[in-house]
Amino acid sequence: MQGRTGLWRRAPVTVIVVALILAAIAVVALLAPWISPADPARQTLIARLRPPGHTTSTMTYWLGTDELGRDLLSRIVWGARASLLVALLSVTVSLTVGTLLGMLAAWKRGWVEIAIMRFVDIMLSIPAILLAVLTVAVLGPGFGKLILVLGLTRWPRYTRVAYAQTLQVASLPYIKAAELGGAGTLRILFRHVLPNIAGPLTVVATAEFGLMILFEAGLSFLGLGIQPPQPSWGSIMSAGRQYVERAWWITLFPGACLFLLVLSVNVLGDWLRDRLDPRSRTR
């Protein structure tokens, strides 16, 4: 294991493998327009539910076709794009909003703290799926709005963690020192507090990453996810679930991809967390 530097120093083989898997999925998602063998929306109604390897005069469906006779491989390739984007963007939105508010609440205390944390209580106490369905009903459908809905529903989770961690960190001597030294709030929060609470937040973010893909899948199941005919892994599975016996490939392949993605993100997240958390760095 020579030649690795910085963060990757001492990274176990597993981590290298999952990082490669993630990179591969990301590349597939990025290159979807060029590597997808067919138009993911192109239906051939007479070739519905054909098994993997089905060949016609014009093309071979390597992973079979779906319930409308579309090439499953192409849909999974394009679905990677939608699913990754949904997860990445919604986690970014909620992580940013949630962390900022959490740190602020713990640092400012007083009314700011009460206002933010009670609002967090309010948001957390409304079950996420209900809140999402409600907001979709008001905002209407669309990719941007979907991100907004997911981001707006999930930020309180980060706030709680950021808040609790900041409370602990705030009493550390060197942060007290920085404060006494006249450093501004933002500077302290970003320079000193954030690095200390990044570990637990990473864990939440990586867990949420997979959950967001599932969440979109759930909304697809309720008919409110990504707009058809655009595919996401979740919507492919949601549409394919009633064919699990007749056409197992529709759910198995995107399911396997999703599993690999979630597994990789989580393994990477746990490892990153262990690296970032100052308390476990001693090991």
């Binding site: 109604l45 209407g140 707009q227 058809p228 005919p229 009633q242 016996e245 198995l252």
Partner: protein, 501 residues
């Protein structure tokens, strides 16, 4: 979990060909019937909700004023005979010897009360608009005299849906209690109702129409269609409502099960906005009409559970005129029309909601796109869909798919609300069409009405504010032993069922 879950898929897939479990051996005859419905009855007071699931349950608790036989003809139930005194006055003879479940006799005053109750605005019945042509109903001995505002040809078709409730009981217990503990005169009485779980009916052995075929009938609430199929296969349910064509295909392989399907009065159609967007140009609308390949839609996607139609009406409705020509699938013509209208690449929005089969919507989208138009699907939740579809023309979207049934088997309940100027669904206006459908709902002469509807459909053919695609089928899955023929009005009357070998 890993092993189990994915092994599960493979196991499930592999076992399709293996012999499947057969449920408990069917005995001769059967005491208890179990029915899987997609939703709970919203109300069991028959004068409140009338969605298919509520109706499925309470239809068996109550008798209706009149009903339809298997061929669709309106036949006596509580009314034994009826005659027009003049164009706006009808007399009904009320059946004698019918008793409610509490033992009290059903009289003409109960019938008059039922009508008065449903048309009373303060009762807030959602069904009001189906009965508001009735001005009054009066009991005279064993007769009921009913008056309508104007001559109203669809009256009898609407009265098929009117359940008779006992005046004394409703007045004594009040509307809210009556909804929870309904008392009717039908073949079954309510034994228990667990909200959201099931409602259990037990046979009314004194039913005037004969002995009910099962001692108890349980209507279970099973929202997921895949679960309803699993219930049939495991023997947990004897019959399940609202299966899709793909479920039907899968069920046919099961030795213990059968598919019961029947053509209904429900019309699968595509709405085309004639007042806003690129579809305001009639050439674009015609192009869309030419682009629909009914045969491959019905054969491939609906597995044959649908019959192609030329107009926005099914043969099960009065007013169906088979001689009005439709638009044959002709992509070349469609493309030429789009070019001619200078609409190549024009953006259309296809509004839809979870209430409509996503597969059909996506298939239609692709068919329309073949013409050179560009179609975006906008999937809204159902209330929002309704608000937009019924709102201003510029908000209503260019296209939407619908499955329309008025449960009255009359053209008046279909093309009047869909296309008459001023109707919430109409994004279209043509005085000639309005005149025809207005006249057709105000005369009683059947021949004259049919001529008017022919004229109306000819106008629709030219203007294409919508295009009929197929006559929809109601699909039920059931155990082999159940003998029953589904009816075009999607009624679920257990008296029509039998259990045999």
């Amino acid at each position: 979990m890993l092993k189990h879950a994915f092994a599960g898929i493979l196991l499930a897939a592999g076992l399709v060909t293996a012999p499947l479990l057969v449920g408990p051996a069917a005995a001769q005859g059967k005491d208890a019937l179990t029915v899987d419905l997609p939703n709970d009855a919203a109300t069991l007071d028959p004068h409140v909700q009338w969605d298919t699931d509520s109706y499925t349950v309470y239809r068996n608790i109550f008798d209706n004023l009149v009903t339809r036989d298997v061929s669709g003809k309106i036949v006596p139930q509580i009314a034994t005979a009826w005659r027009y005194a003049n164009d706006t006055t009808i007399e009904f003879d009320i059946r004698e010897g019918v008793t409610f479940h509490d033992g009290s006799p059903l009289t003409a005053s109960d019938v008059a009360f039922s009508i008065a109750r449903i048309i009373n605005p303060t009762f807030k019945s959602p069904q009001l608009s189906q009965f508001d042509q009735i001005v009054s109903a009066e009991a005279q001995g064993s007769k009921v005299v009913m008056k309508t505002k104007t001559p109203y040809p669809a009256l009898m078709a609407q009265l098929v849906k009117l359940s008779i409730v006992p005046k004394a009981v409703v007045e004594k217990v009040g509307d809210q209690v009556f909804n929870l503990a309904p008392v009717g005169s039908g073949p079954y009485r309510l034994a228990s109702w667990q909200k959201g779980v099931q409602s259990v009916l037990e046979a009314n052995d004194k039913y005037w129409g004969g002995k009910p075929p099962f001692k108890t009938v349980t209507f279970r609430v099973v929202p997921d269609v895949a679960t309803r199929v699993a219930d049939l296969r495991s023997g947990k349910a004897d019959i399940a409502r609202q299966l899709g064509p793909d479920e039907a295909t899968a069920l046919k392989k099961e030795p213990a099960l059968q598919v019961l399907a029947g053509a209904t009065e429900r019309i699968g159609y595509m709405f085309i906005n004639a007042q806003a967007g690129p579809t305001a140009d009639p050439r674009v609308r015609k192009a869309i009409a030419y682009s629909i390949d009914r045969k491959s839609l019905i054969d491939a996607l609906l597995a044959g559970y649908g019959d192609p139609v030329n107009i926005v009406l099914t043969p099960a409705n009065f007013g169906f005129v088979p001689d009005v020509k439709g638009y044959e699938f002709d992509l070349a013509k469609a493309k030429a029309l789009v070019k001619e209208a200078n609409a190549v690449g024009a953006q259309l929005t296809f509004l839809t909601s979870p209430a409509y089969d996503r597969r059909v919507v996506e298939a239609l989208q692709q068919m329309v796109q073949e013409t050179g138009l560009k179609v975006d699907i906008v999937a809204l939740d159902h209330p929002t869909f309704l608000r937009r579809r019924q709102g201003r023309p510029d908000e209503a979207g260019s296209l939407s798919f619908g499955r329309w049934s008025c449960a009255c088997q009359d053209a008046d309940g279909v093309i009047f609300p869909l296309f008459r100027t001023g109707s919430i669904w109409a994004k279209y206006s043509n005085p000639g069409f309005d005149e025809a459908v207005d006249k057709a709902r105000a005369i009683l002469d059947e021949k004259g009405r049919l001529d008017l509807y022919r004229k109306a459909f000819e106008i629709l053919r030219e203007d294409v504010p919508g295009v009929g695609i197929y006559q929809d089928y109601a699909i039920y899955g059931a155990r082999k032993e159940l003998k029953w023929t589904p009816t075009p009005n999607e009624a679920f009357f257990i008296m029509d069922m039998k259990w045999g070998q």
